[in-house]
């Protein structure tokens, strides 16, 4: 096992495109680090730089104590699981798993023993003599894992290994990979665009945008204290509702943010927890509210409530997703705009935005119905004009 240290690692392509302007990060020994971000953010490039499949054009990459910038992939003592598994089609499962050991020149008896041990751990023993084309998606995924663990490498690199599986199998394999990694204690760098995977699997999650690290933190911290509007918008499912607002204080010391024509009072404890918000002058501000920050208040009992007309109601059995349009301008940066969902595109006019609230199944909410939603103002997120969090 080893640490992986990125010391201002850069990747510039020959045409001058800077895919990775420079990242610095240390993945601790035995840690499960997940790189997450939208398409084209550079997360797979970081993984390929780590594997040695792309040349590093600046900075230093350490695996353990060694600088590995100029080492070939096979010299880095890493194993990689590819998005399409990259199983050798002409080889049996046994040969696929044992190929790396064969390339290392290990004795046949040792290869057989280690392959069978890896296969046993992954419940592949009965499939050892099959070809990849005769395996299901989940079995292929396990073979790819077997190929990685049989080498007992210093680090696992995984490039969206679950993206080709159906939703049910993905949940199962997610748990299996996490469990396996914890058992083996091998340092792992895992790349995904799926923030649910990132949140459920990673010891820490590195959120990337345009080749730059935005925040590296444990999942809970990312969710609760995102450093900027991009991370806030990216982490969480459904994603956070973000809107343009105005901060105002009255003579009695109350602090308010606007939600369209309405105002929401910010509790004093929130201001205490966020000194930079407390010190901020009146004026424009960006505000975020997670879908579960709305509370269904059928009798209008909450004074911190807003009246909305529902557009779409999605029933998930134990909860409902209520989509509504409000006379509020959406707050976003370029990347969060790219992540707009189809439903968000429904918002008809400039100056209006589609919001989403997660509410219990009862009382029933119907489409095209006017309802009152309470707002949990303790759970609001605040960002300055540049999109940086106000803590």
């Amino acid at each position: 096992m080893a640490t992986i240290k990125y010391d201002n690692v850069e990747k510039t392509y020959p045409d001058g495109t800077k895919a990775i302007p420079g990242i610095s990060l240390e993945v601790r020994d035995g840690e499960f680090m997940v790189f997450v971000g939208p398409s084209g953010c550079g997360k797979s490039t970081v993984l390929r730089l780590t594997a040695g499949l792309e040349d590093i054009t600046g900075g230093s990459l350490f695996i353990g104590d060694r600088v590995v910038n100029s080492l070939a992939p096979q010299q880095r003592d890493i194993a990689m699981v590819f998005q399409d598994y990259a199983l050798y089609p002409h080889m049996t499962v046994r040969d696929n798993i044992g190929f790396a050991l064969r390339m290392m020149g290990r004795p046949k008896s040792e290869i057989r023993q280690r392959v069978e041990a890896a296969a046993g751990r992954l419940s592949l023993t009965a499939l050892l003599d099959r070809k990849p084309r005769n395996l299901s998606g989940g079995q292929r995924q396990r073979v790819a894992m077997g190929r990685a663990i049989v080498r007992e490498p210093q680090a696992f690199l995984m490039d969206e290994p679950l993206s080709n599986l159906d939703a049910k199998l993905r949940v199962q394999m997610r748990a299996e990979i996490s469990s396996l990694q914890r058992q083996l204690g091998v340092t792992t760098v895992y790349v995904t665009h799926d923030q649910v995977e990132a949140m459920t699997m990673g010891d820490r999650v590195a959120v990337m945008k345009s080749g730059l690290l935005q925040q590296v933190a444990p999942p809970e911290e990312l969710y609760e204290r995102p450093v900027n509007i991009f991370v806030a918008g990216f982490i969480g499912s459904p994603k956070m509702n973000l809107f343009e607002s105005v901060l105002r204080r009255d003579r009695d010391g109350g602090t308010f943010v606007t939600f369209g024509a309405q105002e929401l009072a910010i509790p004093k404890e929130v201001l205490r927890e966020r000194p930079s918000l407390g010190q901020r002058k009146d004026g424009p501000i960006k505000v975020g509210i997670r879908p579960d920050g709305f509370i269904l208040t059928p009798n209008g009992s909450s004074d911190q409530s807003i009246e909305v007309t529902t557009e779409v109601v999605e029933s998930l059995g134990n909860e409902r997703m209520v989509h509504f349009i409000a006379q509020v301008r959406k707050a976003s940066d370029a990347d969060t705009r790219d992540q707009r969902t189809d439903l968000e595109e429904i918002a008809p006019d400039a100056g209006t935005s589609m919001f989403i609230a997660r509410v219990p199944p009862y009382p029933r909410v119907h489409e095209r119905e006017t309802i009152r939603l309470g707002v949990n103002t303790k759970g609001l997120y605040f960002f300055d004009e540049e999109g940086n969090s106000l803590f």
Binding site: A79, D84, Y85, L87, H90, A100
Partner: protein
Amino acid sequence: MSNASIPRHQVMTLSPKVRDRTRIGRLGPSRLRIAVNYLVMVPVTLLFVSPIIYMFIASFKPNNEVLSGFGVFSLQDLSFNNYLSIFSRFSGSDTGTFTGFLTTSLIVSAATVIGGLVVNSMAAYALARLRWPGRNLFLLAVIALVIVPFEAIAVPLFYMLDGLRNTYLVQFLPFIASPFSIYLFYSFFAGLPKSLEEAARVDGAGAWRTFFFIMLPNARPVFATVAILQFMASWSSFLWPVMVIDDPTVRPLPLAISVYVGTPPYGWGNIMAFGVMMVLPMLVMFLIFQRWFIRSVVTSGVKG
């Protein structure tokens, strides 16, 4: 759905259309469709195969019966005389021997195929997968060369290889590197997932071992196709041997049959026998590799 799971009264009320569809789904196409298929396929097959059948039968017939129209298909007066005549006609060093012609053709074709598979597959791999200066230009040149007919380069080639005339080498050397074969290999290698190669690199295989352990085994259908195409081209090559071979001891079969036809007396039955002996190795080659050949024609890419 099986009938067992459907109540009897419901089976009885199925519309004729639904019943037909059920029957086709279970038992395959209707008899009418099979009949129509045969009606089209049999004449087309006969059209292609009949000259070969004609040649086979005629090779066992006396010379005077070969050109007797459909009478040639009567299976009477069959003998090996035509074959024996060929062997006796070519029995000296001045005429060359049939086994000599056959050996020359086999050596030349085998060398073309083996050399071609090695050289063309490696060239294609380098073009498809390795990064080196001038790669695109080279690829463009290869593709352009596919459309250049051999006749256009025959004379320059003749002068370039003048010193090698009347050798085995001159007969296969210019045909080992084949732009079309490179293109076939290139298309295959370029279509293989890049991750396959990257996985091999991470697993510790360098360029050579990746080529031999991963690329080659997956490219078997293309190897078979290229082997058959290069064998066919070499086996029936005529213009080039005419230009560079006048020694009967290194004369290949196509040239030998032409010399035979040009030096009377000969009979059509003898020529048919010569033709059969020339075609047989090619037929055997096709039968051996036909599974791979058909697969490479039918499929493209590799299913994981």
